[in-house]
């Protein structure tokens, strides 16, 4: 690691005044940043700790939820409003990492953790277009079981690893950001970028921007929602495929639906096509099957991840069937 300075910011203005320095990085829990610094992938010379900025979780006037960026992942999952009103969000967070890491990780850091694969973290020996643009991609033709099947580019096929962000994508969350030019709000589904020919650029944040909060609007489907994560071991592993979904059914037809996938794409993958195919139609297994097939029609999986197309299909159908109550 490079020599470092450390400063715990006590106000947003204080953090903004220091974050603009190109060599500075914001520090949440450090579970991603400190790890990547130790591996020589990230090399900041100044850390601005933002965990003393607001991390409160509160209901909004319009009936949604506002979560301060410094809220720890475990505090969000344990919050009574999240557990009762947004079960898919509580369960998505609880599906991620371990209890220790969830106690450390902040909401801001979870949103900003790097889209990554093992080769990206192997600075000593692996080529990686994300780490060094133009150097090549070791995963192509290498070990790619954990990689993405949709939204990829020839330059990078890594997945976005967050579980929490998958639920936030399905819940139409908005990110509140402070920057040099003032405050702005970015829909979560637009926040993360597909790799294209610049896999090193992963979000819409500019250097010096700070995430202050995540806002979840009132949702018609959040109360009847679920998160299911399929992985190589039952706990403490990244997703092969995960699904966040909320569904409301009236007289046998789909009144409203939200679906997002994790583990299959370089960003939390909101399934807009599947939702459009389902809305207003019958809430049947056949319709769920057809919708997910339409969503994944453009999938181009690398060889070892080809199984994910079928796994994503089965996982979504199982979750929607359960939410529709038709398995009861």
């Amino acid at each position: 690691m490079n020599p470092l300075s450390y400063h715990r910011a006590l106000s947003t203005a204080d953090a903004l005044s220091r974050a603009g320095d190109g060599a500075a990085r914001l520090l949440g829990g450090g579970t991603n940043l400190v790890d990547l610094m130790r591996k020589g992938v990230e090399r900041p010379s100044a850390l601005v700790d933002v965990t003393a900025l607001p991390g409160t979780i509160e209901a909004t006037a319009e009936g949604g939820l506002l979560i301060g960026a410094a809220a720890r992942n475990s505090a969000v999952a344990a919050h009574p409003l999240v557990r009762s009103q947004y079960p898919m969000l509580a369960r998505a967070i609880l599906a991620g990492a371990s209890a220790q890491i969830r106690n450390m990780a902040t909401v801001g850091g979870n949103l900003m953790q790097r889209t990554r694969c093992l080769y990206f973290q192997d600075a000593a020996a692996s080529r990686c277009n994300k780490r060094i643009p133009g150097s090549g991609c070791e995963a192509e033709g290498g070990f790619n079981r954990y990689h993405a099947i949709i939204g990829t580019s020839p330059s990078c096929i890594a997945t976005h690893p967050s579980d929490m962000c998958v639920a936030l994508a399905a819940l139409d969350a908005r990110i509140h950001v402070a920057g040099a030019a003032g405050m702005r709000t970015i829909p979560l589904v637009d926040f993360h970028l597909l790799p294209g020919d610049r896999p090193d650029i992963e979000t819409l944040l500019a250097p010096g921007d700070i995430i202050l909060a995540v806002e979840i609007p009132p949702s018609p489907v959040a109360r009847n929602s679920a998160y299911r994560k399929v992985r190589d071991r039952a706990s403490y592993a990244f997703a092969l495929v995960s699904v966040a979904a909320g569904l409301s059914v009236r007289e046998g037809s789909v009144e409203d639906v939200r679906i997002a996938f994790g583990g299959i794409a370089p960003k939390p993958w909101r399934a807009f096509r599947a939702e459009a195919a389902l809305r207003g139609g019958p809430a049947t297994r056949e319709a769920f099957e057809a919708a997910v097939i339409e969503e994944l029609a453009g999938a181009t999986p690398p060889p070892e991840a080809a199984f994910k197309v079928e796994l994503a299909r089965r996982t979504l159908v199982a979750v929607l069937t359960e939410l529709s109550g038709s398995d009861r």
Binding site: G29, T31, R91, A95, M104
Partner: protein, 166 residues
């Protein structure tokens, strides 16, 4: 600038790169806390900060400034902790390398359960969670044991939990 470690005020290292794990083991010689993977994947370095379980390998010592750290040495104090006795009774260890992390994690986990916090496998997220064998396995998944003593570890934790609620 000071960190309270097992009750003693310790100066924060000048070098911000020093991890909490490095401070504990190499500067304070509190070697109960173990180094496993040094990358967040095994739980051997688990300690408590303000009573909550965290990984000391991914925590910079300076992040713990003004906070209270408890290691296995602090938990067991002069004698032994109930969890330590139960681990021995149930063969919850073989080589013992993962054990300090397991005990710190279990100590905090029992408080999380008492507070009603759910896990990924809790069926009803809105209701207070109950401690079953499956819940212990899920909640302790952040602590690996290469000797495969997990069954004894779960038995030991369940016994201590039963004694506390009795």
């Amino acid at each position: 600038m000071a960190i309270r470690i097992n009750g003693a005020e310790i100066a924060v290292p000048d070098d911000a790169r020093v991890s909490l794990l490095g401070l504990l083991r190499e500067q304070l010689h509190l070697t109960g806390t173990k180094v496993g993977c040094n990358q967040g994947a095994c739980g051997a370095c688990t300690v408590l900060i303000d009573g909550e379980r965290v990984l000391s390998c991914l925590t910079l010592a300076v992040q713990a400034d003004e906070r209270s750290v408890t290691t296995i040495e602090g938990l067991s104090g002069a004698g032994s902790h109930k969890l330590q006795d139960a681990f021995i009774e149930h063969d919850g260890l073989q080589c013992g390398y993962c054990t300090p992390g397991q005990i710190c994690a279990a100590d905090a986990m029992l408080r999380e359960i008492a507070a009603g916090v759910p896990s990924y496998i809790t069926a009803d997220l809105a209701a207070p969670a109950r401690l079953t064998r499956e819940e212990v396995r899920e909640r302790m998944s952040g602590n690996l044991c290469r000797c495969g003593a997990h069954n004894g570890i779960v038995d030991a934790i369940l016994q201590v939990a039963a004694e506390r609620t009795a």
